[in-house]
């Protein structure tokens, strides 16, 4: 049984090179799994309307609103699945929610 320490498993790996049972010998690697392409609608951050109240940050199920020095930045579109909760919760209309193709 192949038992090598694989931190960067890719779909090019042969079955012999995968870990037994799909065990993962590393932590914090869910960030490497990009879920942004699941989106069918996209939140748009309107910075000039934002008061930095940060109500949107804890409601995001995918931790896709990065915060640096107490201020939120634009969305992490690698992981945002486009659920729209942030747009609903924003009291200042600083997040527009646009369905793809509109």
């Amino acid at each position: 049984m192949k038992d090598n320490l694989m931190k960067n498993i890719t779909p090019d790996n042969k079955w012999q090179d995968l870990t037994p049972g799909g065990f993962i010998y590393a932590s914090g690697n869910s960030a490497e799994f990009k879920t942004g392409d699941w989106r069918t609608a996209t939140p748009k951050f309107i910075e000039e309307k934002c008061k930095q109240c940060l109500l949107c940050v804890p409601v995001c199920p995918d931790c896709s609103i990065p915060v640096v020095d107490g201020k939120r930045l634009d969305f992490d579109f690698d992981h945002c699945k486009g659920c729209g909760i942030c747009a609903k919760v924003c009291p200042f209309d600083a997040i527009e929610f646009v369905k793809d193709g509109e």
């Binding site: 049984m1 079955w15 037994p20 049972g21 799909g22 065990f23 993962i24 010998y25």
Partner: protein, 393 residues
Amino acid sequence: MAISERLSGNEAVSFAIKQINPDVVAAFPITPSTEIPQFISQYIANGEMTTVYVPVESEHSSMSACVGAQAAGARSMTATSSCGLAYMFEMLYIAASNRLPITMACVNRALSGPININNDHSDSMGARDAGWIQIYAENAQEAYDNFIQCVRIGEHKDVHLPVMACQDGFITSHAVERMELIETDKVKAFVGEYNPEKYLLNPDEILAVGTYDTPQYYMEHKKAQTEAMKNARQVIKDIAKEFETISGRKYDMIEEYRMEDAEYAMVIIGSSAGTAKEAIDELRTAGVKAGLIKVRVFRPFPLEEIAAALKGVKAVAIMDKTDSFSAAGGPLGAEVKAAIYGKVDGLVAANYIYGLGGRDVRVEHIKLVFDEIAELVKSGKQPETYKYLAIRE
């Protein structure tokens, strides 16, 4: 010196578990396997074992507890029967696909319904595709010997799969037989310590077990699992050879009984093999060249061994102690026919369903089967696709 004893199958397996002294046992009582967790609880209460017993509220939980414990790095065991095994169904697959070598004492009992507590193989045969190794015992001696070997087989580095050590409910589990036990120090030395390469409680390494598998990986993981099952064939043979050195008893994938020059053969699993051997001795005395293939290991399936053993045979009766309700026979019938396809020419293969829900199978029933397959050869007729043995009609 081996210890001469008289024990039931449940007592024998419980004694093996006591000798092995695993890290964890999690089990829920169900007839006819109830005695196994009962005896183990007593051993633990008496200070004869240091195993942690997890008293769970169901079989889904007992298998879940074993999955968790084994992934944590603990040697884990359970026992169950019938509906208890069915209730574990989801977790059986988790154990196998996560490559966790849990050992289960499976005491075969009919699955409901109509509700029935007696022996047949519908429970473990229903779980035959769950990815567990399955080894069946003919009697209490084999139940004991198999269980000890199962621990080594599952934990082998080329295998890493869970193992069911099956015995027939009541017929084997509750009947007391004379048998030989192996000294505890020898059993402990044979089984050894469980030292997995990767386990969750290792403070020096990070590990995630049971993660989601996307379509890009799932099939490769299944391929690795099926290769492990193939590897088990050689491992089972190697461990049987090693076991012979401490016990003097021989084991293999199948057992052939009077097959050397047999013209008529029977393929069977479990305790009824003993009845069949008696019938074959009587038939041989009467001049009928009858023989028996006892399938000891059902998963991985011994297709090459069975095909080789059936070479030169005129007719075979394949005996299923369960019906798969495929309307085409039982699982052993289907797999033996697949094993001989293209390998054994001109063999008449009849599939019988027998002994369901504890229906007694006697020497005369086995002789009747041999009469029927001999008649098929004589008349040149093909058998029915499958039939129920000695059914009232």
